[in-house]
Symmetry: C2
């Protein structure tokens, strides 16, 4: 059966850039555009050349895309100007972008309140602007702003606006739910009405997530006749975000009702890179990925309840709607307070430890995990610390080095040149095979200085940690009811009393062979928590590389 072609249009770099806290650099934009092109997105909207220096620079030196059509965004001509003399349109046609998408109004209320011009003039503006772009040989598209609100308020006028664009040579008329308040059953009906009223019109859908229905609205529009769907990676976008293109790609490619009827540009290989592409955006934004994201979240195929885990181990289809590997994701079996034996056995297997379910040490491990989680540890993201904890319980981790004490000093003062400086220094006393080692380090913060001192001299272990690198460092403040239980010092101050706050530090480590591992530490004191994670990182490396045991501390 021949399938209809459905086009994917990404606006991460334009509408997504409107998000609170998001500011892409030109290099960020280039990296994202190339990733989108690679998985097979049809249009990559790069931004609004002329609106800000970043976008102007990006369009002046556009990324080399293999398949996707690089698209510029802008506005219809200004009232009172001809399209030929409009500086905004000139800024768009002055770029090399083969496709140009311009936003025009289609809600009578907006024309009156925001533009303050006669209704018919807005229709002329749309027609002129599209005709101008088409005459310049560009693929012209209209983003019909507020189309659904407009159609509900004054359907005849909304239709007049998009008919003008279509008649003027638009290749696509994109129906926008700009305020995001339209519901799926309305989108389904309205898109069908429009498709009926203008035979042959090529419709797009641009949905926002203000009622948490952006994905459903996009799917409803496709079912009613839209053949272009706009969205952003991870649903990035102003307010509640745009339609999440990642979720849409998962459904359009993997769910038979869509995959059998429509063909997209997404390649098989692109689909398998969906998770990676989603994570790339978060990495560029320095955000933690949404663990609960559909298809690509770290928890999307995570199983916690003991019953679910045993069923999934029998047949994954029991609790998985698609195979995680189809989108480049993976199954996770969680250790948690609800952990049953099957969870912990599966998790141990993941880190290479196979135990008999009847082995009494399994119960001891389960107890230890529960106790540590009660204190604020979380092994969900710290496989190396989990493995060390398990192997310590199993008596498999020898003593390597022994830290007698450390001191960390942070000082802010004026230096000799009367500049305000903040310096951090650390002193660590270590023992290796009974030899006392004293080392010192400095850094741009206390943890940093401690790390430098710890690695300055580890005696016979030094060669094992030469290529050890700290890649990332994350801090989380936990509010626990039982903070006192992990508190070192007896002093209880206002914070401790008021909030029972405990710090959890997660460190990502790497070595020269490309290995990466995560370690965790927990304490009311951030330096102590970091120290735990730092020493776990070193011990894990020594264990994995088969370093010889030490002789333990001297008295």
């Amino acid at each position: 059966m021949s399938r209809e072609r459905l086009y994917l249009f990404d606006t991460t770099l334009r509408d997504g850039a409107q998000t609170r806290g998001v500011d892409f650099s030109v290099e960020d934009k280039r990296a994202i555009a190339i990733a989108l092109d690679k998985i097979g997105v049809d249009y990559v909207e790069g931004g609004w050349p002329g609106a800000n220096p970043t976008d102007t620079a990006f369009f002046a030196d556009p990324p080399a895309l293999k398949r996707a059509t690089f698209t510029a965004f802008g506005m219809t001509r200004r009232p009172g100007r001809s399209a030929d003399n409009d500086p905004g349109l000139a800024g768009l046609t002055g770029t090399a972008a083969p496709a140009i998408c311009i936003v025009g109004k289609s809600w009578d209320f907006q024309v009156k309140v925001a533009l303050d011009i006669p209704l018919h003039e807005n229709v002329e503006i749309i027609g002129d602007s599209i005709a101008h772009l088409a005459a310049k040989g560009r693929e012209a598209m209209l983003d019909a702003e507020h189309f659904f609100d407009g159609y509900k308020a004054n359907p005849a006028y909304a239709m007049e606006c998009i008919r003008a664009a279509w008649a003027a040579g638009a290749k696509w008329v994109v129906l926008c739910d700009t305020n995001g308040g339209t519901l799926p059953h309305e989108v389904e009906r309205i898109v069908a009405d429009v498709a009926d009223a203008v035979p042959g019109i090529r419709l797009g859908i641009h949905a926002h997530n203000d009622t948490e229905n952006a994905v459903a609205n996009s799917l409803a529009a496709i079912r009613s006749g839209a053949r272009q769907v706009q969205g952003t990676l991870n649903g990035l976008g102003e307010r509640c975000g745009n339609a999440n293109l990642v979720s849409l790609i998962g459904t359009l490619c993997l769910k038979p009702d869509f995959a059998e009827r429509f063909e997209t540009g997404i390649t098989q290989d692109g689909l398998r890179h969906l998770t990676q592409t989603s994570r790339l955006l978060d990495e560029i934004l320095n955000r933690s990925p949404n663990r609960h994201a559909a298809y690509v979240g770290q928890a999307a195929f995570a199983h916690k309840g003991g019953l679910h885990v045993s069923a999934v181990l029998k047949d994954p289809r029991t609790y998985e709607h698609v195979p995680p590997e189809s989108v480049g994701n993976e199954r996770h079996v969680l250790i948690s307070d609800q952990a049953g034996k099957s969870n912990i056995l599966a998790r141990l297997h993941d880190v290479g430890i196979d135990l008999d379910p009847k082995d009494p040490r399994v119960d001891r491990l389960l107890e230890t995990v529960k106790e540590r989680e009660y204190l604020g540890y979380s092994y969900d993201g710290a496989d190396a610390s989990f493995e060390l904890m398990a192997r310590r319980v199993l008596g498999q981790i020898p003593d390597y080095f022994f830290v007698e004490s450390f001191k960390v000093l942070v000082e802010r003062r004026y230096n000799a040149r009367r500049e305000l400086v903040t310096v951090s220094e650390a002193i660590v006393r270590t023992q290796v095979d009974g030899n006392k080692l004293l080392s010192v380090g400095e850094g741009n913060g206390p943890v940093n200085a401690l790390d430098a001192a710890l690695r300055q001299d580890l005696g016979k272990y030094q060669r094992y940690i030469e290529d050890l690198e700290l890649v990332d460092f994350k801090v989380r403040i936990l509010q626990l009811g039982n903070a006192a239980a992990v508190s070192g010092p007896a002093s209880v101050d206002r914070w401790q009393a008021g909030t029972g706050a405990v710090t959890r530090v997660l460190i990502e480590n790497a070595d020269g062979q490309g290995n990466r591992w995560f370690t965790v530490g927990v304490s009311p004191n951030i330096v102590e928590a970091s120290f735990q994670a730092l020493t776990d990182a070193i011990v894990y490396k020594l264990y994995r590389d088969g370093a010889p045991a030490g002789t333990g501390p001297a008295e």
Copy 2:
């Protein structure tokens, strides 16, 4: 027009508790149950008594609910047992819960793979179990697990399962999309089929978000005949979460297509507490609320683009689908790199500073904000620091006290009793009116000790800060390209070089009159960043309380 009654069923405390990283205490559960009851949710599912100590304790001493029906969750009887002799069912009827919801299988594949019993036996198990609960005088409900997958695979068998429950006296048959893979158009069709096939049946919908359609699936089911809708606060739940009850409440109460047709138990006052209820859950979980959540997110009514901001100031309906105050949320105008003048003027107005748009100081402020954001500051969440920054540029903040230097020491060592302890001490040298003050503090961490020392002696300002309290402390590690720009010390170590990491500290402060304010600090050094936020907190309090100026630092 008389409206049909639609029932809201919350499972935050049961299915939501399956989420990665979530472990409610009994007190957490009580607080959430009471909040749900207050806004007008019909059923509060408290957990699974007998499955774990927390749930057993919670049901032994149930919360005093005014309107909501407290509901226990459990499973159908075990194969080979009579319902009367089933310990699981006895555990449920042993509680005082007036309603009991039990999960039973309705997908032939699951009966074979997970239960491994004949298909007809599963049907008998469902009927027996429901009849047993009904005979005990409880409102019995069946959660028909995997109903949609079951119906697609073997509709006759899936129907047989739910007919058995209905015939045995179930008050509700809840159709569960357990794996979350069903799409809205399928839910719409299947629920309509079921409602047609069993006239009078009372159907519920239980959707999961694995394709990001849980809300849409719930709405589709309601349109097709479901009159109970299950969900969780903020969409908490295993994998990608359950249907988000918060978003559903917004739509059901505020969107005419639903609000004119259906009546829920949500009160007007409850709707206005929707945002607060959503945030309560995050507070209990110590999570940052999702800023982009529909209806209740901090960014749900945030306007960043300059054009949008001017239109919203003319008429909010231009870019808001519902009034933010209807759900207890508020409008936010954002300061950002894209900030136009109208943004910054509106934001200044929010903190009580009204400037003429033509005032040249507005441009200076805009420049300052952009520069600070470039360095890693974010004023989105730190109104007090924003106000201080603006008033400093405007020359309105006098010199109060002056910190000459500070030293913070963190030490880990063995004490005289051979216990491992970690202690933190700070020394601060301050000047007030030329008088040099030396103060010292200790705490359970470096920031903590610094805070204690700073407040120990502020001379004539001491009485202003007596009731100042630090409520919360958040740390974010930022990866900036330009970290060196804010780096105090010249030393660049591995971390700095590798990641350009900068620490942003956000502190929430409170005083005895119930005021709360947020301050921010940024530095590669966490102690220095905290110091900035701590001193901003104090200066803000002094300014607001009208403390007299100091005479500045002595030489």
